[in-house]
Each structure stands twice: as C-alpha cells, then as structure tokens.
C-alpha cells in the first residue's frame, strides 16, 4: 500500500494562557489516504479548526505544536520551518475556508485571484493559468466562465463565491484538500449542490479530502470515514456507516440523539440533550474529558481508556462492552 497523504500521530497544540498553558489539541492521530473523504466532527472549541490550520502550517505564532509523527504528502513536517510549508501550500496541498466573503479579496478581479498562485509557484504562463481557471470554473458550475474572469467577488452570489473558492483551491491540482466548514454559511439548497460537487471532484481527481464540520447531516452525506473530536482528542473514529449505525462513545451517541430527525424523533418531545458544557482545557486534564457530562461514567474514567486497534476505534472504558 502506498503511503497515506497524511499520517499524523500524537498531535499537540497549546497556547500560553497566563501562568499555565491551554492545551487545545491533546494527542490526536489522523490518517487520510488518496481518494478518501475523512470528516472531522466536533463542537466549537474542540480543536478541529486548529487541527486544520496546523495541517496548512497556518497556526498563530504563539501556538506551540508537537507531534510524534507528522508526515504530509510524503514529507516529514514535524520540525518544518516556514519555507518547508511554502513548499507544500499550493503545491499539492489546498484549503477551502468557511466564509468566502472574507477569504476573497474584494478589490481584485477573480481571474487574477485564481491565477496568481499558480503563476507564482507552478511556473505557468498567464494564458495557460487562465485557461485552467476557465476550465475549473466551468467544472464547478459557473456559466460563461471566460467572460467572468474580470469580475469582482461582489458580483457573484454566496453559492458562486464558495464555488470560486473551490476552483481556486483546485488550481494547483492538489492531492490533499482541506475544507473547513465549506457549506456552513450557505443555504441548504446550495449546500446540497456544493457537497455534490465536492464529492464528484474528489472521485474524479482522486483527491484526499479532509472535511471539517459540526453538521452530522453533512457527514452522513459525504464521509467515507468519520473522526469525532471532543476537547482536543478524537474520541471515536471509524467507517461512516459504523459510526452512524453503531456509535460506541457516549459523546457520539449523545450528539446523534440530540438532533431532531423528522419522522424519527417524536414531535414536540424533549430532546435528550447532553447536560453541562465542555471542560476548560487549561492545564492538565486527567482521564476522559467527557466524564463530567457522561451518564454512564464509572470511577475508572478518571484514567484515560486505551484505544483498541481496528477500523472502528473508541476511547472509552465502556464502549467495548456496549459495542463489541
């Protein structure tokens, strides 16, 4: 088997917080193969966006990053310097951000924004770069693409701007695409189209796709594998069908139960909400971070559970009994 696009072990990200440190990501393992869609799910503050930023080498300067293993596109990035990152970004590695309105430059024509990266890094001529831009814009469903290269971001609708972002991310022919909440700011009918487009491109181009979201509906629609994050750790990971049909971690089960599903949840009934809130991440956090909110916690949860081997892994003392 060829090397995965991303092979990450024991990723840790922390920030200075007064006399202590805020441990935002606390030992995270992640692997993505070519042609695979991995969805990283979790609620705000769980560290999913920081993880994405660390994969692009875009963390703020005060962040301290460490990893047991950090291999990205066949290179060792564990001790990478800014120059090493510049060698990957736009050269095999691309990212789509959540909000296309703030990620596009409002005073530059979209043609210039699409092409300047590959002209600078890929050695393409302007004409060749524009030809590729037109081809990609048509691929993402923007009609009369050639005549729209001179237009500005405000002349496109929200859904079209997100398509621009996708086309821009694909300009450098990446092998690994990171998408951080790419449809959260969009209407649901547009969201469905964008997800369909991402799935098609992913299949046709054999991309590895890391999609970060908090929306379990999006995950169900597009993921091959799912990783559920809580308080800086992946608490459960496995094939999408397993995670949805047999969620093993109490947090995953709580998330699934907390969303109303038409036709399944009794209308007007109280939802089984997860009580409490996420723990603070400053200083050391012993044992399972979810145990304060967990309805089945036992004294053993004060010590972190070992992660078993296998495709579907759960970091919970009780999970093995609940879902063998």
């Amino acid at each position: 088997m060829s090397e995965p696009l991303l092979d990450l072990e024991d990723l840790r990200i922390s920030f200075p917080a007064g006399p202590e440190r805020l441990n935002a990501v606390r030992g995270l393992d992640l692997r993505i193969g070519a042609g695979e869609t991995l969805c990283l799910v979790g609620e705000s503050g769980c560290g999913k966006s920081l993880t994405a930023m660390s994969l692009m080498g875009l963390l703020p300067r005060e962040a301290q990053v460490g990893a047991g293993r950090f291999r990205l596109l066949g290179r060792d990035m564990a001790r990478a310097r800014p120059r090493d990152w510049a060698g990957l970004r736009g050269r095999g590695l691309s990212m789509i951000f959540q909000d296309p309105m703030t990620s596009l430059n409002p005073v530059l024509g979209v043609g210039r924004q699409l092409t300047e990266g590959v002209i600078a890094t890929g050695g393409l001529s302007r004409a060749a770069a524009e030809a590729r831009a037109v081809e990609l814009l048509e691929r993402v469903g923007i009609a009369r693409a050639a005549s729209r290269l001179g237009q500005y971001p405000h002349q496109f609708s929200g859904g079209q701007r997100q398509r621009l972002m996708i086309a821009m991310a694909l300009m450098s022919r990446p092998r690994l695409l990171i998408a951080d909440e790419p449809t959260t700011a969009l209407d649901v009918t547009i969201q469905a189209q964008i997800l369909r487009l991402l799935a098609e491109l992913q299949r046709d181009l054999g991309l590895g796709l890391l999609l970060i979201t908090h929306d379990l509906g999006v995950v169900a629609a597009i993921a091959d594998r799912v990783a559920v994050m809580y308080a800086g750790r992946i608490v459960e990971t496995g094939p999408a069908a397993d995670i949805f049909n047999a969620p093993a971690h109490p947090y995953t089960r709580g998330l699934m139960a907390a969303i109303p599903v038409p036709g399944r949840t009794p209308r007007g009934a109280l939802l089984p909400a997860i009580p409490g809130r996420v723990p603070g991440l400053t200083g050391r956090l012993e044992g399972c971070a979810f145990r304060e909110r967990c309805s089945v916690a036992v004294p053993a949860c004060a010590v972190r559970a070992p992660q078993p081997a296998g495709a579907h892994r759960t970091e919970c003392h009780l999970a093995t009994e609940a879902a063998p």
Binding site: E43, S44, G141, I142, A143, S157, G158, G159, Q160, R163, D187, V188, T189, I190, Q191, A192, Q193, L195, R196, A199, H214, D215, L216, G217, V218, V219, A220, A221, I222, A223, A240, A241, F244, N245, G254, L255, M256, A258, I259, P260, V261, P262, G263, T265, R267, G268, L270, L271, P272, A273, I274, P275, R277
Partner: protein, 323 residues
C-alpha cells in the same frame, strides 16, 4: 376569556408589503426590491407557527414587521386584533418580544446579566423592585443564579441565549418571536435551548413564531408551517401535511436538501440549477420558475395565486399536482 376572544389571532399579518430601493451602482437607476409581497400570516393563540425559507426570502423583514419595527408600504400587522401601528411602544413591547439568532451581538456587553433581564421591568414598571421577578425568570430558564452578576462575555453561547430568552419573557408577552434562536449554537446546546422553549411554551401558554432555515428543528416545534420564497408565501400547511406531502416544488427542494444523519440517504439531487434566488430578476409570473424543474409557460406568464390543497393547506403553484 370568552370563546369569541379566542377567535382573535394572537398575531396577524394582513397583506403586508415592504419594498426597498437598491442601488445598482453610480450610473444606473436604483432598482426596487419587494422584500414582502402581500404576506398574510395568522398566529392563533397558543400555537407555534414555523416560518421557513432561505436567505433573502423576507423572513427577517417579516420578523421586523411583526415587532412593529418597520413601516410597511401596504397591509397591516395586528396584535390581538389591533393594528400595531396604532399602538404605543410600551404596549407593543409588552405584548410581543423577540429572541434573535446571535446571543453574542443581541446582549449589551457592558451590562451584567441581572441588569439585562431587569431592564424591561425598570422601563415599564417604574418604582417596583425588579429583583424577585428577575431571579424567578432566570431560574425558570435554567440560568445559574451564581452567574447573575456576570457579563455576557463570561458566558457560553447557550447561557447567553438563556439570558436573551429570560429578557424576552420577563414582561410576560403573549407572543414570542424566535428568529433562528438555535442556529449559532452547537448541537448539544441547541437541544438544551429547544427543550427550554418547549417547556416555556407549555408553562406560559405562549404563542410563538419560530423562524428558521433548519427544517428538522421547525418540524419538531411547530404546529403549522409557512414556506417563503422571495417575499411571498409559497406554501402553508399543518406541520404533518407539509412534511408528509409538500405541494410546492420549492418546499420539496427544501425538504430534499435537509440532510438526515443517515449515511444510507446519500446526497440529494435537487434539479434546481446553480443559480440562486434573485429578487431583482423577477418576471411577471412565479418567482421560483427560473429554478423550478417543473416550470411551464403558464408559470412564467402571470402571477400564481395561492390555492387550497386540502384542509388548511395552501400552495402557490400551478403544477402542484404534477410531481
């Protein structure tokens, strides 16, 4: 209360119309955008009306009209049978209150929680001590008493939304309008806030308008649902009928685009095309026709009226039978 009184809707929009002038740039004349197009809605006492649609459909304009914050270009808003435009501010805010989407921007960051919730009482019942009522309301919404002296910045999103709900309900309004109250919240917190609204509705007998683009949440809370597209009501039905047998192609697309947490469901094919709704490009006919997979010549030629589709079920579509 007599039976007759019960027949008067808690809140009513009667052919409400609002137009805005939109600049088209320096050298072109301003265009006119119709944000609300003769929108009629009835909220009966004690019921919850869901209002759904995507950005730009006029949901927020409708909310502002219901709060009396918007001078209309036509039609009227009636609260308990009386025109809201003829009401004083004090009476209006006593009868109808609102919870907005973003608890980060709807609470004054320089005020403590206790003062935020007491503010309406202080303005409307001068001379009495608001303390006990504030404490009671905070307890009712499940807000921890020890945080009553905190500032909004010190609270989580869910706690802030509880404060916003307590502030809206402290005057005991008859009508509560919820404008995407859970959209900015995480899944686990969203469930807590939905549960709170369900409990408060039952305990206080509230009439509620629940505005959202999240159909699953609307289905869970609403008795009846109105679907809006570009300022118009395109369908209205009891929640059962709408989710079981939607008649308007746009309602069907909205339902189809709602992704269930089920990997077997796959990605929906909506057949709507890549163009979003454009309020300025409206022709004489059905506003949805440019995106509609069923659109025929007649749809584009003339305005389509709302037609009965069954008990209390209305749809604005000539081809409601075609699907």
């Amino acid at each position: 209360m007599t039976g007759r009184d019960d027949d008067i809707p808690a809140l009513e929009l009667v052919r409400a119309t609002k137009r805005y002038r939109v600049s088209q740039g320096l050298f072109r004349p301003a265009a006119e955008l119709t944000a609300l197009k003769e929108l009629s809605l009835v909220l009966r006492k004690g019921e919850t009306l869901g209002l759904v649609g995507e950005s730009g459909c006029g949901k927020s304009t409708a909310v502002n009209a219901m709060l009396g914050l918007l001078p209309l270009d036509g039609g009227s808003v009636r609260l308990g049978g009386r025109d809201i435009a003829a009401m004083g501010l004090a009476e209006r805010v006593r009868r109808v209150q609102v919870v907005f989407q973003d608890p980060y921007s709807s609470l004054n960051p320089a005020r403590r929680v206790r003062d935020l919730v007491a503010q309406p009482l202080r303005l409307h019942r001068r001379g009495t001590d608001p303390g006990p009522e504030v404490a009671e309301m905070l307890e009712r919404v499940g807000f921890p008493a020890r945080l009553a002296e905190a500032y909004p910045a010190e609270l989580s999103g869910g706690q802030r939304q509880r404060v916003a709900i307590a502030r809206a309900l402290v005057m005991r309004p008859e009508v509560l309008i919820c404008d995407e109250p859970t959209s900015a919240l995480d899944v686990s917190v969203q469930a807590q806030v939905i549960n709170l609204l369900l409990e408060l509705r039952r305990e206080l007998g509230l009439s509620m308008v629940f505005v959202s683009h999240n159909l699953a949440v609307v289905e869970h809370l609403a008795d009846r649902v109105a679907v809006m597209y570009l300022g118009e009501k395109v369908e209205e039905a009891p929640v059962d009928a709408l989710f079981r047998a939607p008649r308007h192609p746009y309602s069907r697309a909205l339902l189809g685009a709602t992704l269930p947490p089920d990997p077997a469901a796959g990605l929906p094919a909506l057949g709507l095309g890549a163009t979003a709704a454009d309020p300025l490009a409206a022709g004489p006919g059905c506003a949805f026709a440019p995106r509609c997979p069923l659109a025929a010549e007649a749809c584009r030629a003339a305005p389509v009226p709302l037609a009965a589709q069954g008990a209390e079920h209305l749809a604005r579509c000539l081809r409601a039978e075609a699907a």
